[in-house]
């Protein structure tokens, strides 16, 4: 589904990603771990098409198609979704209006009519229930004054609404208490099937107890320096990152 080849990316001449190779197949769950500042969020942004970052080498293909040149919205229309580490506050646009617009614009791009209002309402209800989101919450301005946990839950609500092929969850666990974490993880698991894939970016093993990865990668200094199965996450939890840094820096 997603194939990243020798990806280099920089911002304002500062090189951040320095040769990433990663393949994610349909039905898989990948975890990307690594110390702060190693480039995890940058990788997520580059896959989603943030123009601030310049791809200087390598390429990203999605379902066999090179997507390097596509705009962020075009990637979204193809089924790429990013749950932001820091969701942006947009005062004046309600959660409902935002997600309705996102869905209908995606449909428009596919040559479909707007979703009938009744279906939309039902979809919103179902997905809000799945994530145990209060209806009142949906009429509030997007992310404005939301707690950290509410923001993350709202990200997964949008994911549920948009039903992407590839979901990248960037530190979705940070800011969540244990109950919220369980609700969010449960939501993600319910959406998971053989045709889609999830990339979970996290610092902690904690989330991976709920969303169990098939592969774990360690990103350090803009490269994937180690890959393994879910046991690698346990090892990192126990030993921290220093041994990896030493291995790499040696």
């Amino acid at each position: 589904m997603l194939k990243i080849d020798n990806l280099h990316a920089s911002v304002e001449d500062k090189s951040i990603l320095r040769g990433i190779n990663l393949e994610v197949k349909a039905g898989e769950v990948h975890a990307i771990m690594g110390p702060n500042g190693s480039g995890k969020s940058t990788l997520a942004s580059v896959i989603s098409g943030k123009e601030e970052y310049e791809v200087t080498k390598g390429n990203i293909s999605f379902n066999g198609e090179n997507i390097d040149e596509l705009a962020a919205e075009e990637r979204a229309h193809k089924g790429v979704f990013l749950s932001f580490q820091y969701p942006v506050e947009i005062p004046g646009v309600s959660v409902t209006n935002f997600i309705k617009t996102a869905i209908n614009e995606t449909r428009k791009a596919k040559g479909l009519e707007d979703m009938p209002a009744k279906d939309m309402l039902k979809l919103i209800r179902d997905k809000a229930d799945l994530l145990e989101i209060d209806r009142k919450f949906l009429s509030r301005s997007l992310n404005e004054g939301f707690s950290g946990g509410e923001k993350k839950r709202n990200e997964i609500f949008q994911m549920a609404m948009l039903d992407p092929k590839l979901a990248i969850l960037d530190e979705t666990d940070s800011g969540l208490d244990i109950d919220a974490l369980r609700i969010v993880a449960n939501g993600v698991n319910k959406l998971k099937n053989e045709d889609n894939a999830v990339v979970v970016i996290t610092h902690y093993q904690r989330l991976l107890d709920y969303i169990v990865p098939d592969f774990v990668h360690v990103l350090y200094n803009g490269r994937i320096v180690k890959s393994g199965g879910k046991e690698l996450a346990h090892e990192l939890e126990e030993k921290g990152y220093d041994w990896i840094k030493e291995e790499v820096d040696a």
Binding site: G49, E52, V80, V88, F98, I99, T101, E105
Partner: protein, 437 residues
């Protein structure tokens, strides 16, 4: 002959033909003298520093239309709020169109300035209110000198007028260039409530200059909601002079939506002559091209325990220029005044400019005054956030702009107006997004 000379000589003809009584005659004569002395405002005056009328005044305007022109309702329906029942006072090239209007004298007067100025039964009101709020500045004076036609609205005590009143001025382009000077008088007595929508619409590309004066008096506990829809074409210019005198506990709100026009200058003045008054001034401006918009506001707090709320949002693209000049005066007696002013702007092009200047003159010591001006760009991180959810760039921009104007739109009390404005904004931005605010 330049426009000033032309106006001065036209005045003689105008007065000659007029059947005005002595009172009006005197007012007009004083006014033309004032205009003659002051002339058109220039950039040398502080209040006109950023707005030059030079280009606009170069056209060879006809001052009185030569003929009466008619319009078919079906051709201009779209300029009306037509999905709800309203009173309408409609003018074509400055002349009243009875055909397009719907006036009333049943319990309230929604009719014509020309009859109010000449018929004896309105005489008392005219003497008490006409030209009693307008200032002696040159453009209001010019309007006063030629004051003849416009809307006359008188709402007696204890009436809630259910139907909004639309005042619409069309120009047909049958004159190669036309100067219009509508004059409106609105008196709302104790405990009454009225909603008014005003629009100026030119139907061709021929130049139009409108110098309008509206005087509004809100008596004790009266409520006036006024909406100005300024979406004229790019050869039409407007100087709107609005003066609102409020008595105790009255609430007056003016929403100004400016999307069109070549040059638009809004002189909006509130005078608080009683306690516990609320004055509300809100505006959304979205312009591009070489358009110019200048909002010049004044709130004069004269008595204690009053409030004023100003919130103007502006979005400027291409070579557009904007000005916001908001003056708040709090007199020594006006203790416990709450005065708020915000002017937030987004520049979406490198060539667009905005000059924003709050002017506070506070002589009382126990007041709450806050003001803030911001000038920014569209938030890039918000743009990426929206686009990553599948909302294309253009629509994402539009959504951000709606969001930006949202707290002004949300205080519009007539849903049909809100819808209309939303639609105009969508048109203006070239998008079609299926959500409502």
């Amino acid at each position: 002959m330049d426009l000033k000379e032309k106006l001065l000589s036209s005045f003689l003809v105008f007065e000659d033909k007029s059947d005005a009584d002595n009172y009006l005659h005197e007012v007009r004569n004083d006014a033309i003298k004032t205009f003659e002395e002051k002339g058109f405002p220039t950039k040398k005056e502080e209040a006109w520093k950023y707005t030059s009328l030079n280009k606009v005044l170069k056209e060879d305007y006809s001052v009185f239309p030569k003929q009466e022109n008619a319009l078919d309702y079906s051709d201009i329906k779209k300029y009306f709020i037509h999905d709800i029942d309203t009173y309408k006072i409609v003018f074509i090239d400055g002349k009243y169109s009875s055909h397009l209007s719907q006036t009333t004298h049943e319990g309230i007067d929604v009719c014509l300035m020309s009859s109010a100025l000449t018929k004896p039964k309105y005489r008392l009101i005219i003497e008490n209110y006409f030209n009693k709020a307008a200032t002696k500045d040159s453009l209001p004076s010019l309007n006063t000198a030629f004051s003849n036609e416009g809307a006359y609205i008188h709402i007696p005590k204890n009436k809630v007028v259910e139907k909004p009143i639309q005042i619409i001025h069309f120009s047909t382009g049958n004159e190669s260039a036309i100067l219009l000077q509508p004059r409106n008088l609105i008196v709302v007595e104790e405990n009454s409530h009225v909603q008014i929508i005003e629009r100026h619409q030119s139907l061709t590309d021929n130049p139009v200059l409108t110098n309008s004066v509206t005087e509004i008096f809100t008596k004790k506990r009266a409520i006036v909601d006024y909406y100005k829809v300024q979406n004229d074409n790019l050869n039409a210019s407007l100087v709107d002079n609005t003066f609102i005198k409020q008595k105790q506990e009255s609430i007056a709100s003016v929403h100004t939506f400016t999307f069109g026009g070549k040059l638009t200058r809004n002189n909006l003045n509130f005078y608080q002559e009683g306690e516990r008054i609320d004055s509300i001034l809100k505006g959304v401006t979205i312009i591009g091209n070489k358009q110019h918009v200048d909002h010049n506001t004044l709130v004069h707090h004269i008595e204690p325990n009053c409030e004023s709320h100003q919130d103007y949002k502006g979005i400027f693209g291409e070579n557009a220029t904007g000005v916001f000049n908001g003056k708040i005066i709090v007199e020594k007696e006006a203790q416990k005044t709450n005065a708020f002013q915000a002017n937030n702007n987004i520049l979406i092009s490198d060539k667009a400019t905005i000059n924003t200047k709050p002017q506070l003159e506070i002589f009382a010591d126990d007041v709450k005054c806050s003001h803030g001006c911001t000038i920014g760009q569209l938030d890039e991180s918000a743009m990426f956030y929206m686009r990553s959810r599948g909302i294309p760039e253009k629509e994402a921009k539009a959504l951000l702009m709606y969001a930006f104007s949202n707290n002004v739109l949300s205080s519009v009390k007539i849903p049909e107006i809100k819808q209309r404005i939303t639609k105009i904004i969508a048109n203006k931005l070239g998008v079609n997004i299926g959500f409502d605010l």
